[in-house]
Amino acid sequence: MSNNDHTKDFVGGGVSRRTFLKGCALAAATLGLSPDVVPKMVEAAMSPKRPPVVWLHFQECTGCSESLLRSARPDIATLILDLISLDYHETLMAAAGKQAEENLRNAIKKNTGKFICVVEGGIPTKDGGIYCKIGGRTALDIVTEVAPRAKMVIAIGTCAAFGGVQAAKPNPTGAVGVQDIVKGQTIINIPGCPPNPENFLATVVQILTYGRPPELDELGRPKFAYGRKIHDHCERRPHFDEGRFVECFGDPGHKKGYCLYKVGCKGPVTYSNCSVERFCNVGAWPVGAGHGCIGCTEPGFWDTMMPIYKHLPGIYIPLGGGIREQAEKIGEVAVGGAAAVIAAHAAVGVGKKIFSSVKGSSQKKDDEK
């Protein structure tokens, strides 16, 4: 791969057979399939009839595309771009303006029911969806036109899957994921902020080879990637089971690689294969690097996963001008309140008893007199 035909590689130039084989073996491993299927995958991937793909960008940071293209493993991006025929991608295509919109229209018309629609970014719905417009049309408009005409939809990233960060309270633009708008269409959610490119690759290869999406969980996420908790595959798990926890960042436990549960790791409630797949071809992932999981692949990411350094969310108490209290405070209030009420109740009871016995004895004295 020489430097001067770099662009050619990105927009679907040649990839060596070796890269193909490596990529397909990687996809098979990610999918949890036996190596026997690799030849079949290579055959499907090498087929000249590449599936047309329309890639839509809405409310997002382009982080999903960026992480795919600028990963330390450019062959994955090249491979993906070589497996598919990317007819429309705002970040990558050479066309602009009117011509670009023309491309989109043509791609849909030519390939109705055959193309794969990839959506990146959330879709604002408030006020008629005016908070995200492309070429004068709202995201809502575009997605309701394009997605139903596709063969299937891949929602890449947490924003497209569940609304993501712009759907955090108070969600000023009414952002939602694709599945909340497009009904009756096969939607594969590949959430993550950003998702692991290998999961996207494996999904695409699976679709190419078998013509159907991988098995999905009840949130529409492929089970091969999102079927297990991070916590259940974490290299720090033995420390969790043995009760060895990082108390604060930089303490001796942190240096020894203890479990990050007490500094807010969301691994116990987050579904992803990060701990197995790892990132960037260097075997790195957040928990391995010493920071807890922030739960970015889950619906309600942000609202339910904040604060980052507490393992349970803070809850909103409407008293006192809207203080954001930690969940722990509730406990103190409950137990403290109960203890105070019991003490007061018992004190009144005893006081009454003493009072009436004093009164009683003085009455007796009166009687004796």
């Binding site: 969980d217 043995e242 889950e298 339910t304 349970l312 809850i315 722990e328 509730i330 137990v335 109740h345």
Partner: protein, 235 residues
């Protein structure tokens, strides 16, 4: 009201063996659940000695939590069965404020606990105040059981679907599970206090009743309990 002592009491059989079995299973399992749950929520620093000897403290306490959780769920199932198949006093119609008589009784209970009256209402079953709170506790227990099962088996499709429809993500379920934990702690404290307080104030001996199943009823009281065993008892 000045009580005349000695007074003639009947020992009246109220709580069936099944109900008492439920009560003590629930009590012990809740006790263990609360203690192990708090450890799971905030494991205190044991790191200093955890380095030297393998001890699996979190794994063990979680295991106890799940075992106790199963006892807890079984106890709730038994109570649910008794809502329909239990004796007269074990059915919700007897202790929920759903008719005028029970509502009046509820008002009276509240007055009694606020020291506004000394007159203790000798009731065969639960008082209405207690019954209502037990019913709320039962509902909370069901929520605890469901969120607990959801946290325990989030990968089982049926459980995952149930949890998703009822509580949302496992993280939301975990928050509910944790917050209700404090309701149980609150309940344990108040329940123990009220039981002891009642033993001082009222003659019906509810603490021993939790073991023996019988309550003491003043003989001069009109008791609509012809069908039940009455054992005269001189105090």
């Amino acid at each position: 009201m000045i009580r005349k002592e000695p007074r003639l009491y009947y020992r009246v059989f109220v709580w069936s063996g099944t109900l008492r079995l439920f009560h003590w299973t629930l009590a012990f399992s809740t006790f263990i659940l609360v203690l192990t749950g708090i450890y799971i929520h905030y494991p205190p620093i044991t790191t200093k000695w955890a380095e030297f000897k393998p001890q699996y403290i979190m794994a063990t306490l979680r295991y106890w939590h799940f075992c106790a959780g199963y006892f807890f769920i079984c106890a709730l199932l038994v109570r649910f069965y008794l809502f329909f198949a239990g004796n007269q006093y074990e059915r919700p119609t007897d202790f929920l404020p759903i008719n005028k008589r029970n509502l009046q009784s509820l008002v009276h209970n509240i007055k009694f606990y606020l020291y506004l009256t000394d007159e203790h209402e000798c009731r065969m079953g639960h008082t209405i105040l207690a019954g209502t709170i037990y019913f709320i506790l039962f509902i909370c227990g069901v929520i605890m059981g469901l969120t607990g099962l959801y946290l325990l088996y989030p990968e089982t499709p049926m459980v995952a679907r149930m949890g998703h429809d009822l509580f949302g993500t496992p993280q939301q379920a975990r928050l509910i599970h944790y917050l209700l934990n404090w309701f149980f702690i609150f309940f344990i404290m108040v329940h123990l206090y009220i039981a002891i307080w009642n033993d001082f104030k009222a003659p019906d001996a509810i603490i021993s009743g939790a073991f023996s199943g019988s309550k003491m009823m003043p003989a001069d009281l009109e008791c609509p309990i012809e069908e039940l065993e009455k054992i005269p008892f001189e105090k």
